[in-house]
Amino acid sequence: MSNTKAILLVGVGGQGTILASKILSEGLVAAGYDVKMSEIHGMSQRGGNVSTQIRYGDKVYSPIVGKGEADVIVSFEVMEALRWVEFLKPGGGYIINDNEIPSVPILMGAAKYPEGILADLSAKARTRIIDANAIAEKLGNKQTQNIVLLGAAIRALSEAGDTALAGIDWDGIIAKNVKEKFVDVNKKALQEGMAAN
């Protein structure tokens, strides 16, 4: 209810939003919160837009984030940040991956990718733009862009006053959720995301 916080992770099918939100929500449970997380599978996986919604607090009812309610929106893609603008709480913050993925109408030449999204959103809300793909590539595993963005989200929630998050054993939760040979690179990705400016 009143102390409930909400996070949206939005992107395009196949970007790894689901793993990132799984790790985040397990961390929130470890911090003692009541947590609900909702995601949409099915048709939306085939290159459509995807969203994972997380709400946490003392007692959470709805599993879905309402308009004007998200404390943080982590967007894995630039245009998806725009699609969800109405869901950001006035005063809330954006983390946007500086990565443009054209959708089918754009690929077909039937529409243009909107210009100036980052400038527009930055002028309206506290926005941190991260080139998670470049960071992940530097770490030697492009797939870890999702964990870079997760690191940035955890930092944003901590800065917004969520002191419980810093004490969570994120490395342990990562180890539980990714294959052994990818644990180290994902731990590094999380650190990079937390540090990224």
């Binding site: 209810m1 395009v12 099918g13 929500s25 397990e26 449970v29 009541d34 947590v35 609900k36 997380m37 909702s38 995601e39 949409i40 599978h41 099915g42 048709m43 939306s44 996986q45 085939r46 290159g47 459509g48 837009n49 959470v60 009812y61 709805s62 599993p63 879905i64 309402g66 308009k67 004007g68 309610e69 245009m79 998806e80 725009l82 699609r83 603008v85 109405e86 869901f87 950001l88 006035p90 054209p102 959708s103 089918v104 109408p105 754009i106 690929l107 077909m108 030449g109 529409a111 243009k112 990718y113 909107p114 100036g116 999204i117 527009d120 959103l121 309206k124 809300a125």
Partner: protein, 599 residues
């Protein structure tokens, strides 16, 4: 000792069923229900779990397990219950031996479905007790409870879920598995042979069963907290607001009406405990009914002469959420940010490298055909630029609707021909019956069976054609060409092609359309998302290379973009995103200038 876990509703149903001593589970995959069986499969060997070819077979198999004395479950999406409705309505008459739970996963908002039917209506129509969980903890608890209720009242129990309940995670406390000994088999012809004479006796039994279930719903269920009242603390001087709700709608109501309102939160919604509602209503000044889709509870409450506000303010279609409920009730909308920029839609599309694309590209070039379609990823072949599917209704419907259309066209002297397009799993589901009708009643259609070696749409499930079962055992693969030949398609009218080879595919379609009698084209190539088995790798040599556009040779004719491939970027010139490209070379085959090369 119980563990606190964050589980989806589907995972929690599987856990609850396992804890309740479930022995047998069957399902056909369907969003949002698929993960129930996928999770039950992990409880091997405690639980035997299988994919059935369709929902009717799944339910009938679970019925068989129940009458053989064990606890059994069948799970399906809402439209799957239509397929399984025939056994359901009569199983309600016979009742059970081992407890039997049917899970119906409805999809308000049509996230991944062809309609938005409200399967609560089935509970009344088939006269089966219904439970509606509102979060994962209730999914676990109600599933466990359902088996006991099924045995106590001698009825199948409908566990009605919705997408948000199935696919949302919330905390559950797990328990231990109980062992339920199998009930020794006894021949009970009057109970299990539904001849009219026996069925009349069971029909009378339903009247008494209903009374017992209703008494349970009104009293014991309230005492046990399955239905519960939460009294609010209204601000002084303000009216007492009461809310009747169930399922995920209850969660939205709690967010909107807060702690000031009182709630009657129902876990059992058939039989509908209207006297509990009447008593609750008498203690509040204003009564709201908050429910998704149909006015299911509202109609029953109003029929009992109880005043309430429901669909007069709350929409009766689409998924609800807190915003919609708030706006409906208070007229207030949340303060939001806005932007003058408009995002371009991002509809789903066939993957880069999808074998279906080759077939649909070939079909898209033909003007003299009606393409009847079916349910699966390949329904995306209806989207531009391919636009190569003209009808889609239900699982297995492509061949039969094509048959009827072909008869009508022939009778009216039209030259249009029918191509029916159906996936492998959908063909096994119910398409095979339709093809029997085509040969039996001799219509001249071309059925294209898109054999991508997996059930792809719902996330890569095995089926009778893939060679493996749900729990990983090796199974015989149905030989589709042999099967259709046995049904009566002439051997010379059956072609098997690689749909990513356009020449081969076009030649087969040409020949099939010109064939004497009905014809079948099997397009056989694995789904690009399929985790290839050893045999797959041998049979379908991995492609591996990438394609690129030689800008020197490209005349910018854009023909390659008509494939609708998501790896092709069409701006002032054409480029291939090599990260997405799988090297299927379909675009290269369409290029008149040989400007698309392989790396």
């Amino acid at each position: 000792m119980g563990e606190k876990l964050l589980l989806t509703g589907d995972e929690a149903v599987a856990r609850g069923a396992w804890e309740a001593g479930l022995e047998f589970a069957s399902a056909y995959p369907g969003t949002p229900s698929t993960e129930i069986l996928e999770n039950l499969a992990l409880y091997k060997p405690d639980v035997y779990a299988e994919w059935a070819p369709n929902e009717k077979v799944a339910l009938e198999s679970a019925i068989g397990a129940s009458l053989a004395g064990v606890r059994a479950l069948a799970a399906m999406k809402h439209v799957g219950v239509n397929v399984a409705a025939d056994p359901l309505f009569t199983f309600s008459y016979t009742g059970v031996t081992g407890g039997m739970v049917l899970v119906s996963a409805d999809d308000p908002g049509l996230h991944s479905s062809q309609n938005e039917q409200d399967n609560r209506n089935y509970a009344q129509a088939a006269k089966v007790l219904m439970l509606e969980p509102a979060d994962s903890a209730e999914c676990l608890a109600f599933t466990k409870l359902a088996f006991g209720l099924s045995e106590r009242f001698d009825t199948p129990v409908l566990l009605r879920m919705t997408t948000r309940v199935c696919h949302s995670k919330s905390l559950v406390e797990t328990g231990e598995r109980v062992t339920v000994p199998a009930v020794p088999y006894e021949k009970k012809i009057q109970k299990y042979v539904m001849t009219p004479a026996n069925a009349r006796v069971r029909r009378a039994f339903l009247v008494d069963r209903y009374k017992d279930e209703l008494a349970f719903a009104e009293k014991e269920a309230l005492e046990a907290g399955i239905n519960r009242i939460e009294w609010g603390t209204p601000a002084e001087g303000s009216e007492r607001v009461g809310v009747v709700s169930a399922g995920v709608a209850y969660q939205y109501a709690k967010e909107v009406f807060g702690e000031e309102a009182s709630y009657l939160k129902l876990g059992i919604t058939w039989p509908m405990p209207v006297e509990t509602v009447r008593d609750f209503a008498s203690k509040v000044d204003k009564l709201y009914v908050v429910e998704e889709v149909d006015p299911y509870m509202e109609d029953r409450i109003k029929a009992a002469g109880i005043d309430c506000i429901g669909k007069a303010v709350i929409p009766e279609w689409d998924e609800l959420n807190t915003d919609i409920v708030r706006k409906s009730v208070t007229g207030e909308a949340a303060a939001t940010l806005t932007s003058e920029l408009a995002p371009v839609p991002r509809p789903p599309a066939l993957c880069a490298g999808c074998p279906h694309r080759g077939l649909f590209y070939a079909l898209s070039k033909r003007k003299d055909i009606i393409i009847t379609g079916d349910i699966g990823c390949y329904t995306l072949g209806s989207a531009p630029p391919l636009s190569a599917m003209h009808t889609t209704f239900c699982m297995g419907g492509s061949i039969s609707t094509g048959h009827g259309a072909s008869k009508a066209l022939a009778k009216s002297g039209s030259d249009l021909k029918i191509v029916a397009v159906i996936g492998d799993s959908t063909f096994f589901h119910t398409g095979v019956n339709s093809l029997m009708n085509v040969t039996y009643n001799s219509s001249k259609i071309v059925a294209v069976i898109l054999d991508n070696r997996i059930t792809a749409m719902t996330g890569q499930q095995e089926n009778p054609g893939t060679g493996y079962t749900l729990q990983g055992d090796v199974a015989p693969e149905i030989d589709i060409p042999k099967l259709v030949e046995a049904i009566g398609i002439k051997k010379e009218n059956i072609w098997t092609v690689n749909p990513l080879k356009l020449d081969e595919t076009n030649a087969a379609i040409d020949a099939a359309l010109a064939a004497d009698g009905p014809a079948v084209v099997v397009t056989k190539w694995p789904c690009v998302l399929k985790k290839l088995t050893g045999e797959d790798v041998d049979r379908y040599k991995a492609l591996g290379t990438k394609c690129y556009v030689d800008q020197e040779l490209c005349k910018n004719c854009k023909i390659c973009t008509k494939t609708g491939c998501v790896a092709i970027y069409n701006s002032d010139h054409v480029e291939i995103n090599e990260e997405m490209c799988t090297g299927c070379t379909l675009c290269a085959q369409t290029c008149p200038f040989d400007a698309i090369k392989e790396r």
